[in-house]
Structures are given as C-alpha cells and as structure tokens.
Symmetry: C2
Subunit: 183 residues, 2 copies
C-alpha cells in the first residue's frame, strides 16, 4: 500500500528523541533518533532499535460536518516553525473492539469529545493518524503530532484532556515519545 509508513528508531534520522515513556503498559526501546519513511507491508524492516508501521486509512468516526471543520482548521505536517513532535502509539482493549460502530462513536465523541477536544488545538498542533491493528503490529494506532516550541504546553493540555476521557479507559497500552527536529 502506498499509504503505509514505517517509523524507525535508530542512531540517525531527522528527529532527535528527547524522551520515551510508558503511559500504560510496556514501553518501547529507546533510540537517539527517529525516521519516517514509506514502507511496503511485506518489505524488510529498516535496521534500528525498533520499528512501527501504520497505514493512512479512511475516516472511521468523523461525520461530514466534523471532517469539514477539521479540514478547514488544521495545518499540514512539515511547517518550518514546528520544531517539536510527539509519537503516541496506543492499543485499545478487546472490549473496545467488540463494540458496534454506534457504541464506539458514542464513547469517542458524544461522551469523550475526542474530535471536539482536538479542534481546540488547531491549527497549532498538526496531527496524522496511522492505523495498525489489522496489519499485525503491537499497537492499534500511531498518532504523530507536530507543533512549535511555544505550543508545547498547549499540547500537554491536549494529552491530559484526552487521557481523562471515558474513551481512554479502553486504552491498554500507550507510549509517549517526545522529539525535536534535528539541527
């Protein structure tokens, strides 16, 4: 799939890893740098301390009006001022995946306001979601965030709000990696 990307932690890459911590469950190995590159699902992994793959897929929950608001407000990746980044791999538990579509949507948005909370941080925090549950990866999602250093506190707020939500009670593994663009 040309929508599949590989995140690799090794000694070299355009992002310097500042911190890796487990929020829930096992952490992942530490490495000084991170690179992101297109990958084939059956191609060999790039060498490194760890690698995670994810696929950019279709919208799973957002309604048209939400998608349009997000599209109008969000910024793209790669802004020159966005020197800070975060990679947050998460896995949700089997109870979440056994829910029907309307049940997951109700928990995610009507109860937890996931989309609405995210809107509060646009365009400062740019975001890209990769799906990996169906490709045999250890996590279900990888979310990549980019923001300017002056919005780092703002980004911390976003994480606090999401992690306090009902939706997060279904998360059974979460790792937080903080990065900065390598000189």
């Amino acid at each position: 799939v040309d929508r599949c990307f590989e995140f690799t932690g090794s000694n070299a890459g355009p992002w310097r890893v500042l911190d890796v911590r487990s929020i829930i469950g096992d952490a992942i190995a530490s490495a000084p740098a991170l690179a992101i590159a297109p990958a084939g699902l059956s191609s060999p992994r790039a060498p490194g301390a760890w690698s995670l793959r994810g696929v950019i897929s279709n919208i799973r929950y957002a309604a048209a009006v939400e998608r349009d608001t997000l599209t109008a407000r969000q910024a793209g990746l790669g802004r020159s001022e966005a020197l800070c980044a975060a990679l947050i791999p998460i896995r949700k538990n089997p109870a979440w995946w056994a829910l029907a579509q309307d049940e997951r949507r109700a928990i995610m948005e009507e109860q937890s306001h996931h989309i609405t909370i995210g809107l509060d941080y646009l365009p400062a925090v740019a975001r890209k979601l990769y799906h990996c549950r169906d490709i045999g990866e250890p996590f279900d999602f990888l979310t990549w965030f980019e923001f300017a250093p002056e919005h780092a506190g703002h980004f911390d707020d976003l994480l606090v709000r999401l992690r306090a939500s009902h939706e997060w009670s279904y998360v059974d593994r979460e790792v937080e990696m903080r990065l900065e663009r390598a000189g």
Copy 2:
C-alpha cells in the same frame, strides 16, 4: 495477524470452482479449486493461479441492535448441508473512501438497506467478511458465502438486490466466483 486469511486458486483444495465471472472491471485468473488458510501478512503466498488475502476486522457500520440481530440469526461456516459457496471480491471507488463515516453509513444502510437485506437471507446464507483495502490487495473486501443447494436461487436474489442499490454505484470492481464443496 492471526485474523489474516489467504484464498488461493490452484489445482487442489476443498472447494471446486464452478464459475468465475467479472461483474464490474477485470476478472481474476481461473483455477479449478480453492483453498482458504490462515496467512501471515509478510509470509510468502501459497503457490497457485491467484491468491487474495483479507483480515477479519472489527465492525465498521453495524449498530449494536443490528449486530445483535445478525448474531442471533446468522449461521456459522462449515455446516454439512452448505455444499455451495461464493467468493465475491469487491473494490469501491475513491469517491466512496473520501466520504465521512456518517455519509458512508447513510448510503450503505439508510439508502441501500445493506444490513437489512442481508438479514432476509439468514440463516440460510452464512457470510464472512474479510477486509483488504489497507493491506495492499487489489480489492477492498472479500466476502465468502456458504449455503445449501436448495438456497442457491435465494442467494442469487440477494446479489440482485445488493447490486441494484445506490451503494453499488460506488463499486468499481467486482468478481463473482461460484463453488461447490469437493467430494
């Protein structure tokens, strides 16, 4: 993923291929028999004239009440009387995949009654859906059906009704393969 399966057309397998036809777009190669086996996403393909992989995933559209009705009414695969089968790989066009979740749900069920139509054929027609859009396969879905010979006309009705729906205007490739259990 232990939810990934490979359908292989070759000279040997528990299902005899009776007919392969293109409904929309290119057909696939013909082979006298079909086998279905668990597969690793990065493992080599089984030898044969063709192979298609798909992943059993979470519910994408059905609401809880619909899921519960389906679960209560549907039969499992492998019934001794289910000597007939069909494999229907389909691909939907980019316009479909660009729609938001509520738009796809409205077309699929409120306008096209996909779930409701399927219920009319339970438990006679057993069904299993495999997802393959995000794993780089030529189709988006593989649907596998099993039924007794006396329900073959009933199954034909199901296909006619689904193909007449608004949802099907988004299908840009569809192949129909009919099979019977090998002696």
